[in-house]
Each structure stands twice: as C-alpha cells, then as structure tokens.
C-alpha cells in the first residue's frame, strides 16, 4: 500500500496541479464574465481536434519542446537554465545567417548546416553561464537571465541595421534561401518538419540521459556534486557541457521558428517560449516523456487561446495565469509529497 502511494504520487501530483490551475483559470473566466466550460471546450477542441488547429498546435509545440529539453538537460545536472529566451534568439540568428549568406547548396546540406549553426550559437550562449558557474561560481540563474536581455537587444540591433531587408516597413531580415527552409508536413497548415526534429531530439536525449554513462554522470552531478567528484567525475566539465547542450537545444527552437515558420529573422523571435519552457520542465519533473506531453499541452493552450478570445471573449492572458499557477501548484505538491513520504516512512518504522 505504501509503495503504491509512493509510486502513484509522482504521476498524480502533476495532474492535480494542472487541474487546480485550470480551476483558477475558470474562476478568472467567470470574473471576466465568460462561461469557463464553453471557453475551455473551444480552446481544446480548436487546438487538438481540428486539422488546422492541430497543425497550429504542432507549430507552437516545436519551440516549446526544444526549449524545455534545454531546461531539462540542465536541470538533470542541478543547473537552472533560465536563459532559454536568449538562447532561442541566438539560435534563430545563427540559422538566419546561414540561410541568408550561404547560397547554392542543396537542401540536404543547407538545412543541416543552418540547424547546426543555430545549435552552435545557442550553445555558446548557454556555455557562457556554464563556464561562469563552473569556474567562477557565479549563480547561473542571474547570468542566464541577464544574457536574455543582451540577446534580445543584439537581435533587435541586427535586424534594424545590417540585417534589415531593403525597403522593409518594419525591422526584419530578407527571406532565407529556399534550400534552407524546413518542409511542411501537414499540407496547407503551418505544421513543419521542426516538430519531427524536436521529437527525434527528445528520443536521443532520453537514450543519452537514461541509458548512457554520460547520463549517469550528469545525474550524479545533479544529485550530489561532492559525491560525483569522489567518483572522479569532473563536475566543472559536466556543468559546462550540460549548459552548452541546453543552450544548443534552445537555439534549435529559434532555428525552427526561422527555418520552418517565418523564413526570416524578426525582432520578436520568441514570445516567451524560454520562460514557458521552465514551467514545462518543472511540471514534467525531469522526465523526457513528461516534457513531450507537457509541451503538447502548453502548445494547445497557446494555439487555442486566440480562438477562445475571439469566440468566448476570454482574454489570452488567462493562459499565462494558468501556466503560472501550474508551476506554483507543482512546487507546492513537491513539498506536500515530501511530507507524505516522510510520514509513510515513519509509519513503516512503527
């Protein structure tokens, strides 16, 4: 019985947290003068059961999944990567540069090259705080946050000046070469091949984290860095590796936005995907499968929100409140779970 409780808790508590957050959302909808049941059914029907709506959900899921994999891999090593947003911007920049300035390549080479550039640019942006943490002991939360602002402004400068398309009415770059664009997978919808790449990345990461010595090493550093050091694991190198990979994965989120969706670099590459990613990774409690499911859920929330606003009159911001409360509730559920575990263990002793 006790083991059953202990086994069920990690599955149950995210569901309770999600349900509670949806209830808070419903209360706000009532305050705004809308019927929550109508609003939620419009939201989820649109985003999950219509062809175009689902295509839209997959499109939104791509950056969310990449960015939350980035948070997850860092979290495994005990590092809080709050810099997803900046890493997305850098990744988008890297892919744009290859898409714009490298011409005449076949798509089979051009696409991987542009993706690689996105990964590399994001990785550098993740490596910097990793290096500062490992070598200088600077808290990575603050540095990744500060780097977000620097990245956003860097991209803003570039698309307003050297990268700006000639005669563009607002700041954006020229279109990237056709050979560097990701193909559409659901005809006539927005859904592009980026989602397949993100799922492949998730699968690779699962194998790496759960089935390889490297994954064991990363988890060991996250669990107890001092013990890891005794086991001859270089904590510093692991932290730098993990933060660079985290940045690279988030960078691919930016790459896909450029290569699959907009085909050019805009000032606003990401409307906060990097921050949603933190919420997603926490809700999934370090599980790769959990991240896939939760980012689908968050993508559905985002893609249905517009339709909900139009047909049920509920402001989109309610979705952000729901996401915030999910993190809050999951944090509380961790604490409650720990208490229950302590109590059941004490009970078992008696």
């Amino acid at each position: 019985m006790l083991t059953l409780i202990n086994r069920l808790l990690p599955l149950l508590s995210p569901l309770i947290a999600i349900a509670s957050a949806l209830i808070v959302g419903a209360i706000l909808m009532l305050i705004a003068g809308a019927n929550p049941i109508t609003a939620y059914s419009i939201l989820f029907q649109e985003s999950l059961s219509t062809y175009f709506g689902f295509g839209n959900t997959l499109t939104k899921m791509t950056p969310l999944l990449f960015a939350s994999l980035g948070v997850l891999v860092a979290l495994r090593a005990g590092q809080f990567n709050v810099g997803g947003e900046g890493q997305i911007y850098l990744g988008a920049l890297g892919s744009t540069l290859i898409g714009l300035y490298v011409q005449g390549l076949p798509a089979l080479i051009h696409i991987p090259l542009a993706l690689l550039a996105g990964f590399f640019f994001g990785a550098v942006w993740g490596w910097i705080p990793g290096y500062l943490k490992a070598i200088r002991g600077v808290n990575e939360v603050i540095t990744t946050l500060l780097l977000n602002y620097i990245a956003v402004n860097l991209v803003s400068y570039l698309v307003q000046n050297p990268l700006m398309a000639t005669g563009a009415p607002s700041p954006y770059s020229p279109l990237i070469a056709k050979t560097s664009r990701l193909p559409i997978i659901l005809p006539q919808s927005l859904a592009h091949a980026g989602i397949l790449l993100a799922l492949i990345a998730a699968a690779i990461l699962w194998v790496l984290l759960v089935r390889s010595p490297l994954g064991y090493q990363i988890t060991a550093v996250g669990f107890n860095p001092i013990a890891a050091r005794y086991a001859h694991i270089s904590v510093e190198r692991t932290i730098m590796l993990v933060m660079a990979s985290a940045g690279g994965l988030a960078g691919l989120a930016g790459s896909c936005e450029v290569m699959g969706l907009k085909y050019r670099l805009f000032e606003q590459v990401s409307p906060g995907y990097g921050f949603d990613a933190i919420a997603i990774a926490f809700l999934s409690r370090g599980s790769v499968v959990g991240v896939v499911l939760t980012s689908l859920f968050f993508a559905a929330l985002r893609s249905g929100a517009n339709v909900m606003q139009r047909s049920a009159g509920v402001p989109i911001t309610v979705v952000y409140v729901i996401q915030g409360f999910m993190v809050l509730f999951i944090a509380i559920s961790f604490a409650v779970e720990r208490e229950i575990r302590v109590k059941t263990q004490r009970g078992a002793k008696v």
Partner: protein
C-alpha cells in the same frame, strides 16, 4: 550654465531611474540577509505597480494607492515566505512561479480594470520642497525637490544600515542568514525572522512598483517592470548585500539607463540597443567579480529543517 543644466537634469534622471531599483534591492536585502533567495522581486515590483495604479484609479487618491501596493506586496511576500520557509519549496522555483503568476494576473486584471480608458493618466504624488535646501544649485533639485517616496528611500537606506549592523534585530537577521542552526540553538525562531524579512521584502519591492506607476509614468502598462527586479538582484550582489553599496549600484544602473535615453534623444550615432544592453552587461561583469569577490549570506537558498531537533 547650459552644461550645468544638462548635468543637473542628467543627475535627476539618474536618480529617478534608480529609485524603483533601489526599493527592490533593499527589499531583496532583507530577504536574502535572512537566507531566503528572492528571485520574486520582479513579480513583487509588478504587483506593486499594478495595485497602486488600480487602487488610485478606483479611489482617486494616490496615497491610498501606495497603501494598497504595500498590502499587496506584503501578501506576495507572505506567499513567498510560506512556500520557501514553511513548505520548503525550492526558493528559485517559488520565485519564478510568483513572477509568472504576477505577470499573468496583472495583465489579466489590467484589462478588466482599465479597459475602455486606454490612456488613463493617474494622479501622481506631488513634489515636496525642503525649505531653504531646495534652492541650492545642482544639489537642491537633485536631493531636496523630490517626492515623498524618494525621501522615504533615503531614510530607508540609512535606517536599514542602522538596523542591520547596530541593532539586535539586525544581528538576529544576519545570524539566521549565516547560520540558522546556531540561531535556532540560541532560541531564535528562524521561521519567524524569515517570515518578517520576506514580507518586508515584498512591501519594499512593491513601493518600487508604486514609484514606477505613480511618479515615473502615471499609468500601468503590462509587464512594465521589464526586468528591473532582476537588475535589483544584480545590484544587491554588486553592492555585496550592504544597503549603501546596493543603493550605489542602483545609481550606477540608473546612470547608464539615463545616458541611453539621452543619447537616443540627441540622435547620436550609437545604436540604442547597445545602450539598453549596457546595464545588463555591467551587471554581468559585476557578477563575474570585476568589483572583487562578493560573498552571499552562507545559508542563502537553503531551507531550514528546524523541527528535526525536536522530533524523536
């Protein structure tokens, strides 16, 4: 004379931009000196900004707006304390969750409250001239022709320094942040001290938000805290968790922001994005230790499992 005017204006702008940061940094100081990490400053600023705007909008009196923001900020602090001290939730996660909720909730409520009145200009709080001193050139307009919140800030910086280093409460606060176990053994309630510190933190940060809405811009805009809470944390670290040091760091950040606005207005040939970046870059360099090593309170970020002492 023209140059002096320009310089005087520049100093005033610097101070104005530094005030919200300094309130938040002082707030962060109380919390972090007691050992509770406060990433939630951003959300607390935003909460203060929104509640002061909403209350002023409904009641028409900015002083009640300030009072409302104090209460709301205190409640957010209470939530952070409950999560971090009582439930011992990871302090980073708690802070991030509060920031997310505050951002969503204030945007949502702002649409309900201010809808229909797109450019709602709020009544502000007036300037208080200090007789005699206000007429001193340069220093007068800077230090003695300000509003209530600025004077309050000056007093709070001095008061906090005194409290922290000259009173037994300050000793207790620092003790709890350095070694909660020792404090507990000495009969101090770690829980109580941390609750007080984090609630005070919320109140002070929300005053920074009230200054944003009631003095700086006189309206509420979604997400108007724009990372100021995080800059305040950087200032706190840069100022080595000392009230005067942190306030000076805030002035430095204010000075770069004021410079950026001025250069933009003059149409100088420097892309404004680089100047917007500047405070963040400086904060980053400060963290890397360009200004020497800064050591945080020893117990910062670690929850205290006090009751283990009493069990069994």
């Amino acid at each position: 004379m023209n140059n002096l005017n320009f310089f005087s204006d520049y100093l005033i702008a610097t101070l104005r931009l530094a005030v919200p940061l300094a309130f938040a940094a002082l707030g962060g100081l109380y919390s972090e000196r007691s050992g509770v990490l406060n990433i939630a400053l951003e959300g607390m600023l935003l909460t203060g900004a929104f509640t002061s705007a909403a209350a002023t909008f409904y009641i028409g009196n900015p002083w009640l707006g300030i009072l409302a923001s104090l209460i709301a900020g205190g409640l957010v602090g209470l939530l952070h304390a409950f999560l971090c001290v009582t439930l011992r939730v990871d302090q980073l996660v708690s802070g991030l969750a509060i920031n997310l909720v505050a951002a969503g909730l204030t945007s949502f409520l702002a649409r309900l409250v201010f809808s229909g009145s797109s450019t709602q200009q709020l009544p502000g709080i007036g300037t208080i001239m200090i007789p005699g001193l206000a007429n001193i050139p340069l220093i007068g307009p800077l230090l003695f022709q300000q509003d209530f919140l600025v004077y309050l800030l000056f007093i709070l910086v001095i008061f906090t320094t005194y409290i922290l280093f000259k009173t037994s409460f300050g000793l207790t606060l620092r003790g709890v942040g350095e070694s909660p176990k020792a404090a507990d053994t000495a009969g101090i309630s770690v829980t109580f001290v941390r609750y007080i510190a984090v609630v005070v933190s919320g109140c002070l940060a929300s005053l920074g938000g009230a200054y944003l809405t009631l003095v700086q811009v006189r309206f509420f805009a979604e997400g108007m805290s724009a990372g100021k809470g995080f800059i305040a944390i950087a200032a706190l670290i840069f100022g080595r968790w000392h009230p005067v040091g942190s306030a000076l760091a805030c002035l430095l950040f204010g000075a770069t922001e004021a410079l950026q606005l001025r250069i933009q207005a003059l149409g100088a040939n420097i892309p404004y994005q680089f100047l917007v970046m500047l405070p963040y870059a400086i904060a980053l360099l400060a963290l890397v230790g360009l200004a020497g090593k800064s050591t945080p309170p020893k117990a910062l970020g670690t929850p205290y499992f006090g009751e283990n002492r009493h069990s069994d």
